[in-house]
């Protein structure tokens, strides 16, 4: 269905990936020299999870619209204006996160984040940003969070769903500590750094299989975050799963609950139903939802037990839907209010802060 009113918050949209040539001005002298003189600037750094020319990576009409207009104007027309968005959170899944050289990876991530800030956030007030970090080097990831956290337009930290390790492991705790302390959300986006095969039993032959298998990786990360006690240690932290699909979630919740009843003594810090922890701390964007029809959408939400975990997203320009039917059928008007606006404000402390400020200004205006 179409979006019924203006003012929604899109938690997952993608500006076009910057080329290395676009990033060069944002690198320091050393890295600019390295990248130019080693001819790395000719590499695309596209994530192999999203081959640039694969149909899923960009919807055909949006792909065509990109010619002849500025990238920002295209994004404004196709997404921000088309869906009447209040905020759109820009996620740049740059391939630098897959580099084995941790220092080069961190340098390019800094350039991507500065490029996002200067070329997008400074020019379009509806956009919000994600801090891209390299998860395999938590210390540099924390340093990048500290560097950008003062800029309130960055609302989350961005990690790939398939990095080197499960995200519940304690080496990532400093990253979660920094995120929680700064009121940042941790966002986990589809995509692999291909340290391992994207299916647990080996390498698939086709991109088709790779894309479907991403949902299992999200389930693995969900279980890891809960069972390792991340939310016991960081009770104010929220983790948002981006482009995860939703319909796999009830099965994972049920199976994790069932197993907890018997296996609980192994992880005694998991002191309540895993499904309860998931409902409180994890959020899932609804593009794609991965359910065939309105009935299945309703059943999925019933079995999750709440619509509070769902966040609106377009996943622009990925080809998840046609025309303007950005929402799955089967959401009640009450659920729509929550999914389009309220849940995001409840999830993102920095968006809530803006909303509170605006409401206060509006109230002053009304008094006058």
């Amino acid at each position: 269905m179409r979006i019924p009113f203006a003012g929604a918050i899109d938690c997952d949209l993608h500006p076009p990936m910057p080329s290395m040539a676009q990033l060069l001005p944002y690198l320091d002298d050393y890295w600019r020299d390295q990248i130019t003189n080693r001819a790395i600037d000719r590499m695309s750094f596209a994530m192999m999870s999203y081959p640039p020319n694969a149909p899923v990576s960009a919807r055909a009409d949006w792909r065509a619209a990109q010619t002849g207009r500025s990238e920002l104007d295209t994004l404004r027309t196709d997404v921000l204006d088309a869906f009447g968005l209040y905020f759109g959170i820009a996620n740049v899944m740059h391939g630098a996160i897959a580099l084995h050289n941790d220092d080069m990876a961190a340098a390019i991530c800094r350039a991507v984040n500065d490029w996002l800030r200067a070329e997008w956030l400074d020019r379009e007030p509806r956009l919000r940003g994600s801090i891209l970090v390299t998860p395999q080097d938590p210390a540099q990831a924390v340093a990048e969070i500290e560097r950008l956290a003062p800029d309130q337009r960055f609302v989350q930290v961005l990690l790939p769903v398939m990095g080197e390790k499960l995200l519940g492991r304690r080496e990532f705790f400093p990253l979660y500590e920094a995120a929680e302390r700064h009121g940042l959300v941790v966002a986990v986006h589809a995509g692999s750094t291909y340290r391992y095969a994207p299916t647990i039993v080996g390498w698939p032959s086709y991109q088709f299989e790779d894309y479907v298998a991403q949902a299992q990786a999200f389930a693995n990360q969900t279980i890891s975050l809960v069972v390792e006690g991340v939310f016991h240690r960081f009770p104010r932290l929220k983790v948002v799963m981006l482009e995860s699909g939703v319909s796999w979630l009830p099965m994972t919740m049920w199976r994790t609950d069932k197993t907890w009843r018997g296996a609980r003594p192994e992880v005694p810090w998991v002191d309540r139903w895993p499904s309860e922890i998931i409902r409180e701390h994890l959020r899932f964007t609804i593009q794609p939802f991965d359910a065939p029809d309105a009935t299945a959408v309703g059943q999925t939400i019933d079995r999750i037990g709440t619509d509070q975990v769902l966040l609106f997203s377009t996943d622009y320009p990925h080809w998840q839907f046609d025309g303007a039917d950005v929402l799955p059928d089967g959401l009640s008007p009450h659920s729509l209010m929550k999914i389009l606006v309220a849940n995001a404000l409840e999830t993102y402390p920095r968006l809530a802060q803006v909303a509170t400020t605006l409401a206060a200004e509006q109230a002053k205006e009304d008094v006058r």
Partner: protein, 137 residues
């Protein structure tokens, strides 16, 4: 309610258990460090003979990486799926409101009191000098 003498107290020293049949029901009687418990020998989850499970404590934690075994001897772990039950109440630790093993009152009674009746001494000739384990159904 009926009261049943299940055995002389000397037959159930600390650290032992005994499954007895009373009115056609299998009931496990436990002596854990002197504390007595009587539980229906049937797990409310899958029907396992739960009274053959491990008597243990409760794993507790203050956070990831911290492990403590507390309340030793107060919990019975079902042999089939590992669900933990508080032996004093029969309640499941994970789901105390909805899941519980039926528990019964059990105590030691002096033979002198028992011979007065109205207790049902099913298998044991009760003598005034001894102490017995008595279960209330």
């Amino acid at each position: 309610m009926s009261r049943h003498v299940v055995c002389p107290a000397a037959e159930l020293p600390p650290g032992t258990r005994k499954v007895v049949v009373i009115d056609g029901r299998e009931i496990g009687v436990f002596n854990v460090e002197g504390r007595l418990h009587a539980l229906l020998n049937r797990c409310p989850h899958g029907g396992a003979a739960i009274c053959s499970g491990v008597v243990t404590g409760l794993s507790q934690s203050s956070g990831p990486g911290d492990y403590r075994l507390e309340r030793r001897g107060e919990f019975l772990r079902c042999p089939w799926h590992g669900w933990e039950f508080d032996m004093a109440t029969g309640q499941s630790w994970c789901d105390p409101r909805r899941t519980r093993v039926r528990s019964f009152e059990v105590k030691r009674e002096a033979g002198g009191d028992l011979v007065m009746g109205p207790y049902v001494a099913e298998r044991y000739p009760v003598t005034v000098e001894d102490t017995y384990i008595v279960v209330d159904l």
